[in-house]
Structure formats: structure tokens, C-alpha cells
Amino acid sequence: MEDRRIVELFLCRDESAIKQTSDKYGKRLRSLAFGIIKDHEAAEECENDTYLAAWNSIPPHEPANYLYAYLARIIRHIALNYCRSRSCLKRSAFICELSDEMEQCIPHPDDVECRVDEMILREAINGFLETLSEEKRNVFLRRYWYLDSIAAISRRFALSEGKVKTMLFRSRNQLREYLEKEGYIL
């Protein structure tokens, strides 16, 4: 079913919206959650929570092409929180590893809450991503959006693991420099 029709079902509070969404994007969403949590049951739980969250808000309908991205954003958030709040030690360790890498991107990390509002932070992040080549951007997002392992990224893009690590290291440095140069104080 086209995204436009699915959004219409959400708008008229037709519960078959959930089923249609699940039919169209369920596998991708579960796969995304599984990539973060590495637990099939938990991934399904996150998927169901995603549909509930989507039901309680109105998915963007202009352009409807981004319905998947809207859902993916929700499930990523849920899956990350799941990893942190449950005792999945291995995954927690992996998330910590990624968090440490992300901290290298922040010019002066501290414990103060984010000083800029989301709109400005969105501009900062996307402004930086625009400066990267498509390959570097995709590698960066597979690591820090989709939370893929180095090995998984290496297989996906047919790059050596060493090259992936180098690419990510340089991108993190570039992001820090970009934020410093543009004057973003996070």
C-alpha cells in the first residue's frame, strides 16, 4: 500500500494503519532494532512500541516518501533506550563504545545538557553530513545511526575493516572541527 494511503489510515484513526505499516515496513524495522539489540523478541517488542508511538502522533504526510524514515527514527530511539535500561551487558558495552566514539566529535564535552535547541543541532549535524562524500556519509550513518559493527559496515560496502576504521576516525575529527569552526557549542 502506498505511504499516502497508510498515512490517511492513521489520520482517520483506522487501526488497519498498523497492519499496513507492519506489512510494508515491519521487516526493515525489526531488522533495524535487531541490529541494535541483537535479540529477536526484544526487537519485536520495539517494533510494537513503534506502532503505538506512531499511532499517538501524526506521521508526516508531505512528502510521504519519508514515512519509513519517520518510523525508523522512533524505533532507533526505543531500541537505544531498551539497551540502556535492561541488563543487556554486551549491547550496553557496544552502545558505550559508540558513545565514546561520538564524544570525540564534541569540541568540549561536559555534563551540561545540550545547550542548543534541536533545530540548531539538526542544522549542525546535517550541515556536516552534506560536506561528506556519499560513501563516507553512508559509512558514518551505518555506524552512528544504524549502530552497525565495523565488520558489518566492511561487508556492506566491500571495504577492509582498517579502511572503515580510518574513514570513521577521520569523519569524527572532521565533525569536531566543523562544529568548532561553525561555532556550535553543544
Partner: protein, 452 residues
């Protein structure tokens, strides 16, 4: 901020980038030919250098700076403004400050200082998701209500219409104005709200703010594709959030921008105390409810119960039965499921909006799925898409062959095979919309012809 927070905030990435990063990548070709080609190129370079050719010459000229767009601000513009010509003391671009005059109709004539709108380039524009508001309804604005929210300046081609949006208790949520332009069938939408108006844009560069009479506008331009361009602007005026939008095409872009700029200028001239949103109240709050029913209650429901699904097939469990009504929708629905198969049955009243989907069984192009291979987004002609998506048959014309024409076998990997069937039937003024998986066309046909 710490790395863990920044990792969370990565959710703010442009959705287009998120999608692109999830696209399957072609494996790189590691054929030995690659190396042979590289070696050959290397030889050519060495040979050229040895022959003493000059490969590069001349200066690389710098790209010219791209200045912000400027709108010429001459006398000709003012001829379009009601009553302006006589009072205008401007010469060329040198406006004389303070020469405003307030006509009896309350409109300020101006602006007196040239205003430049800079169109920031947005790489994507996405309506941010908004919270679902239970009982949301709209009412058309009356003339006096429009007057209460009109800006302080007007151009003769600007005509206003619009509606107000309320929550289920009659509290005003937003005002949506439609402002005509100098181009036919082209209107600027203006949303006014006390709360923020969710809109997300991703910019190539740091967005430049354009200031008109102390109002700070963020003005954008976004190429939506297929020659369509969206012009948009956001501002905070007298404590209210404003969002302006105009959809146009590449051919009309210049005129569209000129009109858009003029409208933004007019809205910069709100008098103190305006817009007066307190002047807008709901005349009546439409009835709205969302009730869960039992199956037996649904069958007895006075408006639609007799059109409800009469027999539930074996193995299908009830998921939900609801009676829903708001300003725009009024239906009785049921949802049953068996594993990954569902039956959705929805009963509502036939409206004018449904007329376009009513089809005769002789017109097979409107409904016969065998004519349109998957993916149907590509095979179904644009003009037929709405009707092929969900055709409506009159019950007196419905046959088993028609139901088969709306059925196809699910053959997706990982799914149990089963018929998927999707269409609507008209019983006088009532529409029954069905969407089923896992039941046969014969079963569907039997259920529909049983209803009287």
C-alpha cells in the same frame, strides 16, 4: 553534552540520508581488468610528461560571490497598492522614513525601507510529525474573524479565506489562512498558532534571516522534484508563530517569489494587538467519539450494524471493533486476525468524496488487478490510481468474477500464502470497505451478498 546524548541526537539526521544509507550497495568490482586499465593510464601520463606537453594552463578563476537576492523597490511596485500612489513620497529606492499614513480602513501604507528577502536553499522540507489532537475539527473563518487576523497592509490582489482548527473541547489550536496571489489558482497558506508550528528544513548553508520592519523571516526555497518548487517562510510576529507556504513551478518561480515577498511584507505590518486570535471561537463543537464495542453490540449498532460482517471465519480472533465519529469520519469498523492474516471490515455513509471511486463492472480498467502487474505504483496509470486502489461496486452488480478480479495471491518471502482482497461495496447510501487476507474470494462474496 556527552557522547551518549550526541548518539541519541543522531536521530535528527536528514531522513533522505537515513534512507540512502540503508540502500543496498553494489559490490565493488575487483576484476584484474581494473589494474590493467590503471596501469595503462599510468603509462599514458608518463609518456605525456616525457614528451613535454603542458597539461594545465591558465588561471583558475574564483567563483563569483553569490549575493543575496535583491528585490528592486521602485515606484512601479506601489501602483498595485490601494490608495498608495497619491501619498507616495518615495523616489527610486530612497524611502523616506516616517511617511506613513493610516487610512480609515486601518491599513498602513508602506513599507518605507527597501526589503530584501533572501531565499535559503533547503535540501529537504519535511512536515514534522505533530501530536494527534483528539476531536480536532475545523470551521471556516467568518469575515469579522478574517479581519481580526488580517495583516496591517494589503495589496489589491490579496484576498483572504481560511479556517480555524480546534481541539475536541473547542479550544483554538491554529488559524489557517489562504491568501490569493497575482497568479490564478495560486494561493499562499499562512498558519498562525500560539504554540510552535512543526516544520523541518535542512539547509545547504547557515540560513540567512531577512528582516522586514523588525520582523525576522527565515525564507526558504526547496525543489520538490518534477519541476515543483516550494517557497516557505517562518516568523514570530507579536508573540505568534507564523508559517507561510507557496507551491509553485520553475516556470512561475520569478512571479511567485515576487508575490511571496509582497505578502511577507504585508504581514510585517501587524498593528499592536493583532492578530487577535481571541476573536475566533468555535460556533459548535461537532460530536466526536471513539468507542470500543463488543461484536454483539456492533451487530445491533443502529446506524451501521446491519452491514457489519455477520460471520467470523474459523481461527480469526477479534482484534478490535470500534464506532468512531469526528467532523470528517463516521464509521463502524472491525478487525480480526489469524496469524499474519487480517480481515478489516468498515461501514460508513457514502459521501460526495466517494463518488470518484464508484465503478461499473464493465469498466475493468478501473479495478481488474490482473491488468496491472506489481509494482502497481508503476503499472497503474496516474489518472486511474485512486480508483484502482479502492474501487466501489454497487451491490446489485457484484459477481464472484468481480471479487476474483480484486484478489491476488500473496507470494512474498516469509509470508503464508493466501488471497489478498481489497475493495468496497455500495448498498444505497452505505459503503462497506473490506480488506482481507487468508480467506477465499468465494467466502468474501458470500458475506457481501448476505447483507440486505
Amino acid at each position: 553534552m556527552r557522547g551518549k546524548d550526541f548518539l541519541d541526537k543522531m536521530e535528527l539526521v536528514n531522513p533522505a540520508y537515513v534512507e540512502a544509507a540503508d540502500t543496498r550497495v553494489k559490490k565493488k568490482n575487483r576484476s584484474p581488468m581494473r589494474w590493467a586499465v590503471a596501469a595503462a593510464c599510468f603509462c599514458i601520463v608518463i609518456a605525456a610528461a616525457a614528451a613535454g606537453f603542458q597539461l594545465f594552463s591558465g588561471d583558475v578563476s574564483a567563483d563569483p560571490d553569490t549575493d543575496a537576492a535583491t528585490m528592486p523597490f521602485g515606484l512601479a511596485y506601489w501602483e498595485g497598492i490601494t490608495g498608495m500612489k497619491e501619498n507616495n513620497t518615495m523616489e527610486g529606492n530612497n524611502a523616506t522614513e516616517g511617511n506613513s499614513s493610516i487610512e480609515d480602513n486601518g491599513y498602513t501604507e508602506g513599507p518605507w525601507e527597501p526589503w530584501t528577502a533572501y531565499y535559503n536553499e533547503a535540501t529537504t522540507a519535511l512536515d514534522a510529525a505533530a501530536l494527534y489532537i483528539p476531536g480536532y475539527f475545523t470551521e471556516e473563518l467568518s469575515e469579522s474573524e478574517i479581519e481580526a487576523v488580517e495583516p496591517g497592509m494589503k495589496i489589491e490582489w490579496m484576498k483572504y479565506s481560511g479556517y480555524a482548527g480546534f481541539d475536541g473541547e473547542g479550544n483554538l489550536i491554529e488559524v489557517c489562512l489562504s491568501v490569493s496571489t497575482s497568479m490564478p489558482d495560486s494561493n499562499i497558506s499562512v498558519v498562525i498558532s500560539e504554540a510552535g508550528i512543526p516544520r523541518d528544513y535542512v539547509f545547504v548553508d547557515e540560513p540567512v534571516v531577512s528582516v522586514c520592519e523588525k520582523v525576522e523571516y527565515k525564507v526558504y526555497q526547496w525543489e520538490a522534484g518534477n519541476g515543483n518548487i516550494l517557497l516557505a517562510a517562518d516568523a514570530k510576529i507579536n508573540g505568534y508563530s507564523f508559517a507561510f507556504t507557496l507551491n509553485t513551478t520553475a516556470e512561475l518561480l520569478e512571479q511567485a517569489k515576487a508575490d511571496f515577498d509582497r505578502v511577507l511584507e504585508c504581514f510585517a505590518y501587524y498593528a499592536d494587538g493583532k492578530p487577535d486570535l481571541s476573536a475566533i471561537t468555535a460556533e459548535a463543537i461537532p460530536e466526536w467519539f471513539d468507542r470500543t464495542l463488543t461484536y454483539s453490540e456492533a451487530l445491533k449498532e443502529p446506524d451501521y450494524g446491519q452491514y457489519m460482517l455477520q460471520n467470523i471465519p474459523e481461527g480469526y480472533a477479534e482484534e478490535s471493533i470500534r464506532r468512531y465519529r469526528n467532523q470528517n469520519y463516521d464509521y463502524l469498523s472491525g478487525l480480526w486476525s489469524k496469524g499474519y492474516h487480517d480481515i478489516s471490515w468498515k461501514v460508513s455513509s457514502f459521501t460526495e468524496a466517494d463518488e470518484a471511486r464508484v465503478t461499473s463492472v464493465e469498466d475493468t480498467q478501473s479495478y481488474d488487478l490482473s491488468l496491472y502487474p506489481i509494482p502497481r505504483a508503476a503499472s497503474v496509470p496516474e489518472e486511474l490510481r485512486e480508483i484502482v486502489d479502492n474501487p466501489i461496486f454497487k451491490i446489485e452488480e457484484l459477481t464472484l468474477d468481480v471479487v476474483y478480479a480484486r484478489s491476488y495471491m500473496s507470494e512474498e518471502a516469509g509470508e503464508e500464502n493466501g488471497w489478498k482482497i481489497d475493495f468496497s461495496v455500495k448498498y444505497g447510501d452505505i459503503i462497506v470497505q473490506i480488506r482481507t487476507e487468508g480467506v477465499t474470494p468465494e467466502w468474501v462474496y458470500e458475506q457481501l451478498i448476505q447483507i440486505k
